[in-house]
């Protein structure tokens, strides 16, 4: 039997499950969770390109998410355009912003990049809150009633679910394509050792820059999708630090730098989040973030490779000690 048979079967089953999910579990709550799961998976997979594969840990990706969310509604407010029309402009803006951050910080060590991302995201959040042109602290509102299908304002969750699923599938296809190309090998080489990669002729800065721009573009699309669904955005729900946190934790929990890691992370975390919010009511959101912080620390301390890595090690241990046993994470990914 082909070695790839089981992984392929798993992917087909996963796709079938995702396609059937809202039809089988058609309650409003389940569909809500499903849509939230897809959105989280898209954002985290977008983060994964630069944070996981290239190992450049951004903790301010909400800046791209927020740009993606604000631009469509700004166009709608100014000129009455359908929100969809703002997506390309948002992508261009996000790529521009990513260049602005990447150019100076990618000359320095990775810590500078992390600090710059968190500071710029916070700068934009505070600035947006004071800028009347984009609604200041109140934010912006989208079309309340659809003027036509092009406004993408539906009463049912179902169209959103399948729209998001298509985007997620596309993003994963792009990521898997990259994974197998020269670019993907460059990214992993940079993550393993920047100095070694450079000495072997990898164009380190340019590659990191491209990864960040690609990641920013997809994160911006995630923001646009979010706002098309909710029809409302304010500084905290667009640029807030918790938006960035969610991307990081989901990718890291599943396995940063793996294709399906963010999906696994979202599969665990989003239902957990919905459950804590239901159990503890409104006051639960605080507890959720305590839990988030705790999970992040535990991942960093014990399983920096995420659940995927843990699984691989368990499997290889199970398959007898004589055969290949995956070395601990640190040895492979330093």
């Amino acid at each position: 039997m082909n070695k790839l048979f089981f992984p392929r079967l798993a992917i087909v089953l996963l796709a079938a499950a995702l396609l059937a999910y809202p039809l089988v579990l058609s309650g409003a709550f389940y569909r809500d969770v499903g849509v939230a799961f897809l959105l989280a998976a898209i954002s985290a997979s977008a983060w994964n390109i630069v944070g996981g594969y290239a190992g450049q840990v951004s903790v301010g990706h909400s800046m791209f998410f927020g740009l993606g969310a604000y631009t469509p509604l700004l166009f709608y407010t100014l000129w009455g355009w359908p929100p969809m029309a703002g997506i390309p402009a948002a992508i261009v803006l996000s790529i521009g912003l990513s260049l602005l951050i990447g150019m100076p910080t990618f000359r320095l060590t990775g810590h500078y990049f992390s600090m710059a991302t968190i500071a710029v995201a916070e700068l934009i959040r505070i600035f947006t809150g004071t800028w009347d042109f984009v609604g200041a602290a109140i934010g912006l509102q989208g079309p309340a009633i659809a003027r036509g299908w092009w406004d993408l304002t539906f009463r049912s969750e179902l169209p959103y679910y399948y729209l998001f699923l298509v985007v997620l599938a596309f993003l994963l296809a792009v990521t898997s394509f990259i994974e197998r190309r020269r670019f993907g090998f460059y990214l992993r080489a940079i993550k393993a050792s920047e100095r070694a990669a450079r000495s072997l002729g990898v164009p380190v800065r340019r590659t990191k820059m491209q990864a960040l721009a690609l990641s920013a573009a997809f994160t911006s699309v995630a923001g646009s999708l979010y706002v098309i669904k909710t029809g409302f955005i304010d500084p905290d729900s667009g640029f807030g630090i918790l938006i960035s946190v969610q991307m990081v934790i989901i990718a890291a929990l599943g396995g940063a730098g793996t294709l399906f890691g963010p999906l696994v992370g979202a599969l665990i975390l989003i239902p957990l989040q919905s459950a804590t919010n239901t159990w503890f009511g409104g006051g639960g959101s605080g507890l959720t973030y305590i839990l988030y912080g705790g999970i992040i620390v535990l991942i960093a301390r014990f399983e920096p490779g995420g659940l995927f890595d843990l699984w691989n090690r368990l499997v290889s241990r199970f398959r007898s000690s004589k055969a290949f046993r995956a070395p601990p994470y640190e040895l492979r990914n330093r």
């Binding site: 944070g51 996981g52 190992g55 840990v57 903790v59 150019m103 100076p104 910080t105 000359r107 320095l108 060590t109 990775g110 810590h111 500078y112 992390s114 600090m115 710059a116 968190i118 500071a119 710029v120 916070e122 700068l123 505070i126 600035f127 809150g129 004071t130 993550k191 630090i241 946190v245 990081v248 934790i249 890291a252 940063a256 605080g286 507890l287 973030y289 305590i290 988030y292 912080g293 705790g294 999970i295 992040i296 620390v297 535990l298 991942i299 960093a300 301390r301 920096p304 994470y329 640190e330 990914n333 330093r334």
Partner: protein, 285 residues
């Protein structure tokens, strides 16, 4: 006269920025490691002071020392249980560890103390003094001056004592320091204790003069980044100058542009620094 008052007020707050930022720069200098939870250490220092006042009714001297000691122990505990392990791991683990810690501490504080602003009750540091026409709250004046003294003391400790030489030796070359009979692990633990302790004292000093809520940790953490970036990563004396400058810039921009713009100006300065002078004022790299 108002302008002079604004300037002095900014410098006094800047002195406290310098004190807690010197803790961040110490860790960076020792082990090339950014502590994303440093602002939360400051915030915890404030709440330790608050609890001491509420529970025991201690005065400024008692709650400042308690905050310093409590945070020193916390810093050591965090080093031993977390940092020592992730420092050998991948970049992702290093950044996530303190980032997750920051979230955990911040939201635990929200949970325990609620999001409301609190301030300490009046102590013998209450009231104002008149310094040649400038009216200053005594607490601000004492806190600022003490912060400058302590930052200078940390600088002297690092540059003029045997312990400081050991710390710097580990920072310079871990392996060589080990051959000279210095235990790097113990020195790094000490650095984490000193760093968190400095944040704790700074928090307690600020608590006497300004109201706060659990969310200040995020702001102070970012301010510490800016101060350290301006002063040069790893330079305590650089962070003293930079802290004073940042405090001054904040006070002036709050005065002329409005209070909401003071953070925008400071973070904007940070981005500009990364673009044009990433090594900071005193840095060499």
């Amino acid at each position: 006269m108002v302008v002079l008052q604004v300037i002095v007020g900014g410098l006094l707050l800047g002195a406290i920025y310098a004190l807690f930022s010197s803790g961040l720069t110490l860790i960076w200098g020792m082990m090339n490691f950014i502590n994303f939870a440093h602002g939360e250490f400051v915030m915890l220092g404030m709440y330790v002071a608050f609890l001491v006042v509420v529970w025991i009714g201690g005065g400024p001297a008692i709650f400042t020392l308690t905050a310093a000691f409590a945070l020193l122990l916390l810093g050591i505990a965090i080093y031993l249980s977390l940092i020592r392990h992730v420092i050998r791991g991948p970049m992702l683990a290093q950044i996530l560890s303190t980032f997750g810690l920051a979230l955990f501490l911040r939201y635990t504080a929200f949970y325990l103390f609620s999001a409301n602003f609190v301030s300490l009750p009046q102590t013998w540091l209450g009231g104002t003094v008149n310094l040649g026409g400038i009216y200053l709250p005594v607490a601000q004046l004492v806190g600022g001056v003490l912060a400058i003294v302590l930052t200078l003391a940390l600088h002297v400790l690092l540059t003029r004592t045997v312990m400081g030489s050991r710390l710097l030796a580990v920072a310079e070359d871990r392996a060589a320091a080990m051959l000279m009979g210095i235990r790097p692990d113990r020195m790094q633990m000490l650095a984490w204790g000193l760093s968190a302790g400095a944040a704790g004292i700074a928090g307690a000093l600020m608590a006497t003069a300004y109201p706060w809520s659990p969310s200040v940790g995020e702001t102070f953490g970012l301010i510490a980044f800016v101060v350290v970036a301006l002063g040069g990563f790893g330079s305590v004396i650089g962070s003293l100058y930079a802290g004073l400058i940042i405090g001054l810039i904040q006070a002036i921009s709050a005065f002329w542009l409005g209070a909401i713009y003071k953070d925008i100006v400071v973070y904007g300065l940070f981005v500009a620094l990364l673009w044009f002078r990433p090594q900071g004022l005193m840095g060499k790299a």
